[in-house]
Point group: D3
Chain length 278, copies 6
């Protein structure tokens, strides 16, 4: 073959099932109350990754020194929410194996529910670090139990040992009353039990809309990119069983900056997943 | 009150249930295979209407001379497709009454299925004029029976006396074999039985993407705006029992031209609905 | 009626004249020296409000617990500046009544001049808190006395007890010599006399263009959203007789983030107006 | 000097007052009922001209073979409509001299009124060819006598020998009753008296919004670019005393195509002005 | 592997060297006189192809019934024009083999020069059908012999049996004097010798900028999509030895319509290449 | 002449060769690995300057009090990199003279190499302050020695007395090992030798992409505008022999904010150049 494609995340290979970090796109895009478009997140994030370096000066690690696989995007039955959630859970379950760490790319935040149902089968005990602008702790939203706005309520019902919420700035009074915030990297570091594995759910709208306008529900007053890096560095070396990165809606940002930011956060999470492998 | 709002379609009043033309938004936006965003169609079309005149030189009619009501947008349970379709059908059924003619504003094209189920209760016999770029005649799409790509197949199964398809330029070989095309305004005029009432389903992507880029699936090679006007003029004076105008996805066209075009097509359809009232 | 409209600010009702907070759009858009478009500010801000929650974690208040009215937009004679200013002043005067607190939505900053002429009739003594990127203290601009660039000079001539200017970073050397800056929230808190009522004039370009590009004259080096929140919290509980929020030019920001930011600032100002009602 | 600027229209020199074609920008942008931005028209049209060739295959003429001057943009007092109109009229009067032919670049269409007042001083008898989507024949608009929507009514009151309106597709029933349409290039050729000089007022929104979305009021159903060329070719060799090209609002079309189209129409009009010089 | 990628052109497989149609991206983007960005053309065209059907109602052919390979994009040494041209020529030469027909995706139009140098090695005698808005017949441009504006001059010097130019509307008087235009599909059909093989060079800016704004140099007055289809249908069944499709600059059209149009033209050209295989 | 042009940087005059600050555009745009468009930087920055004041409250200086010349843009042979670099070096050498201080406007960062070759002829000893997101210290990039990604390596080979790099956050591990960072304004102030003249190379992507999305390679985690001002203030009063401001790619930011930011940085650099003139 004469030419090349730039379709996978930079520095990754096709997934062959061995040990390493695995990316899987979960382009669910159904329950958004405002605008949608998160189904295009994984593809755009992958393209954007090629503008970045493989080396991270934040973590002093290099993607080229780790085994990284990109498994592509799940094909989901359009408009059929129950079947889509089942498909995501089943695929996620197959991703988890000794020495393998998945990073799931949304898609909307509701994907975290089937993902954690799959995780729960293997890891009954884990801590959840939840980056987000929104509490996502409603019991139901517009009459529905399963929604991007209820996902953390559903996740809690699955049973989570501890939960740390970072960057939250929007919700009802009731949701704020139920929040488990980590107000600083130091607070997060202090709170985490380094003997219990961690799952990271990263809603990209935790970033301020100045640098991340390409989301389904932009919420002013968010974290800067450097603040996010400070939080993530806390997790270096911990056992992280998996992570998701959700809610990038790239079409709303024609500058491409949102996709680049998401790709850079993904790079750091991949490195964190790697850093915790013993 | 000191100020005004421009939230309803120009020249319309709130719906009070009496005789006249009634607009109802049906912002279903769930099954799109490519990009979504049709849920924002009705709101954008209404705003755009204020840039137009109430008088149409094409039909020599004026909105100010007819009773026009705007009933707002249905609230649909996000992500719950069966419940959404039921809600649309039930609301549509209430819209139909002697002397009342509804124009439903999508949302995605799948809304035509519940709309025609409601229409069918009152009008067992009707002709369907279908403007579209796509055949929409698949039996299933990505494994699903209910989809924007299968809607005309489902509609046919409801029982339609005659069907005339205008502007179609995309489909499978099988779909083209099943097509009932009207290749010119003259052919449409000749085909229509002026004694049988008509329903008009207008997928806005029948227009060429040059003038209508704000759709979920732009298909090159479409009709010009003036060609569409020529087709619509054929329907003047016929008994039209209802119509829908679907698939405007306004956020993809930052020039606002797509919304203005859709608003102008809506103006002409409103006038056609009025012109057939005896 | 089957459907709903989302045309008013979230959680508001039509204005019936009783006690409460009242929103009024003043879409003046005539004197901009660079680009215009502020006439679309109020409508876009209202639409954006529906992406937000009614609860503010910054102020621990909820819109649903207060009386909020939205009076729509004034209709102004296009191109006739003197008549427009008169119309704004007259309407503003009618808004002010015991127990009623207006938030005026611009439009360009020049609206503050007729608004404060109206306020002055009822409140001879008040303090002005002025958020802005620009001094707006020129005596004339391009030969004109009435302009967005002279508005604070004209306002001072009306007689203002005290003036605190926040976020200013652009002007002539002469204007900076005349400035009354509050360089921090603490400085503002110290300067304000809590026994004299306050009027807040909020030019949205005080925010950094990173998060607020949708303005007529973006000026780099502005406040972050969180810094603005810190300044606003100083005003909680004070008697605020009215406020304006001006210069949002939403069409220049196709991400919709500028409108969402403006809608969130409006939410906080509404709450501040409410918090000072005894 | 080492470098160059591309600020004037291609192939033009600074205006020194001698015989030739003269461009003058009239960036009036005050009375638009919908969106504004026409003040940026002249500057954007000039930049766009550099993407074109100096040779026209439509007219078989070349700009490099004629004397073309670019006089820059008038500075208008922002927000002061009467003074702006006076300034335009006075400047236009100075442009007209033996052997000199002006092309005025708007700005909004209202500029045609002061321009024709100036023309009228020198040419009591002339024919008007008016390209537009809108009739612009209202007697008043939103209570104002002077507006982009009344400009042709005002112009008629000045006294015009004959008037030919091309491309009109929007107005009230009353305005259409007063229209003087030329429905084809042949009809225009037949109607024009080749012994009476001509003034051309070209509202760029006569073009279909598919190719010209960058206007203040896009109206679907317009002329294609090639249709416009056919109309313009009719004027080759006639004595044209002047022309204007108005309503380009370039910021609304981020593709830059609207500006390029306007620049190409300007090229043809410049050549037509030249072609009629004896 | 759980997921899929949509990185190749729809219905294609990786190139394994056997008989069939082969796509190869040539993202050269160096000599543009106005704006660039054609390097992103191939990748965007591929993504856009997934919104289309595999069946063409214009040619009554289906991609699923032919062997189609996608060889990806050449990697070119950035900024090194001579080395880039050599690399393109060498790769193209490898693409040509019995039963194999290449469609090269630009990149700027200059790629046609090395492509035809490669073709010339195998086919001393061929006819060239050149779709374009611009003559591209200059001898040099801005002092350079090798440029997008001189490419057809250079190609002629290679020796071309016959040349038919379609859609040309911009050039110098000298270039028009050298033009070999085909003014209609009928004229093209009449001119072509059906016994001599054909190469098609398709500059996408032949399409009107209304439907194809995403090009480096938009030129008003172009062909509609349906007119282009009419020209292409003339070539059905002829022996076509290869083709290129160049100058798509997708970032300038945020509606994605330009990429979809280019992908649809590519589909038809692939089918034409197939239709001529004996 | 009746009108004016706004084509030069605000407050500047045409270059007549005397003492003062001189702006020269160097629109090289050839080696970008991701997207291009920096050739439009100088023109857009100039236009944006007119939205700013001539007075800087950061430096308490006013452009109107200094001699500022704008020499326009160099004309570069498109696609011929060696000739372009020679042309830039030769022109730069002519700019440097007693009492004259040049600010070169890119174009891509590679221009710094020929610029410093010219500077080196006159100033064998100088300190380099390098603002950038990227190290630019590779020895070669994609096989090429001359590239935006290798420019600082090439510059070091010319011989630079000291080098201070500000804002760097992307590179290979090897590049970071070779970096000479200044991590704070204080560190920069401490490091600089106030007896050795300074050259400033300012890659505008040092700013965070939130406020500066219009660059060829946006890199998240950058400096805020106010942080940049703090670094620049350190240089006040020092002898600065010249500066460049590169990599603005304005078309990617349709809000125009990127151009305004770059214009404001240029204003401060002009003032710094002036402040060091004895």
């Amino acid at each position: 073959m004469e030419g090349v494609f730039h379709n996978r995340y930079m520095s990754s290979r096709p997934d062959e099932g061995g040990p390493g970090i695995v990316l899987l796109g979960c382009p669910l895009d159904v329950t958004s109350s405002f605008r949608g478009g998160s189904k295009f997140g994984p593809e755009s994030l992958r393209r954007a990754s090629w503008t970045l370096e493989t080396y991270s000066p934040y973590l002093d690690l290099d993607l080229d020194e780790m085994a990284l696989f990109d498994a592509g995007d799940l094909e989901l039955p359009q408009g059929n929410l129950p079947a889509s959630l089942d498909r995501i859970e089943a695929s996620a379950a197959k991703m988890i194996a000794p020495g393998r760490k998945p990073l799931f790319l949304g898609g909307e935040h509701l994907v975290t529910y089937p993902l954690l149902k799959a995780v729960k089968r293997f890891f009954p005990l884990f801590q959840l670090v939840h980056f987000d602008a929104h509490c996502d702790l409603r019991d139901e939203y517009e009459g529905e139990k399963l929604s991007h706005a209820t996902v953390m309520k559903r996740v809690r019902e699955l049973g989570v040992s501890r939960m740390y919420q970072v960057g939250i700035r929007s919700g009802t009074r009731q949701e704020f009353a139920e929040l488990s915030p980590a107000h600083s990297p130091a607070a997060l570091a202090e709170g985490l039990d380094r003997d219990i594995p961690v799952y990271v759910s990263f809603d990209i709208d935790v970033l301020d809309p100045s640098v991340m306008p390409g989301v389904t529900t932009p919420e002013p007053g968010g974290l800067t990119f450097r603040e996010v890096m400070d939080y993530l560095c806390v997790l270096k070396g911990m056992e992280i069983i998996g992570a998701d990165l959700v809610e990038l809606a790239p079409d709303y940002d024609t500058t491409f900056v949102s996709s680049v930011c998401a790709a850079k956060v993904a790079r750091e999470i991949v490195m964190l997943l790697h850093s915790g492998i013993k």
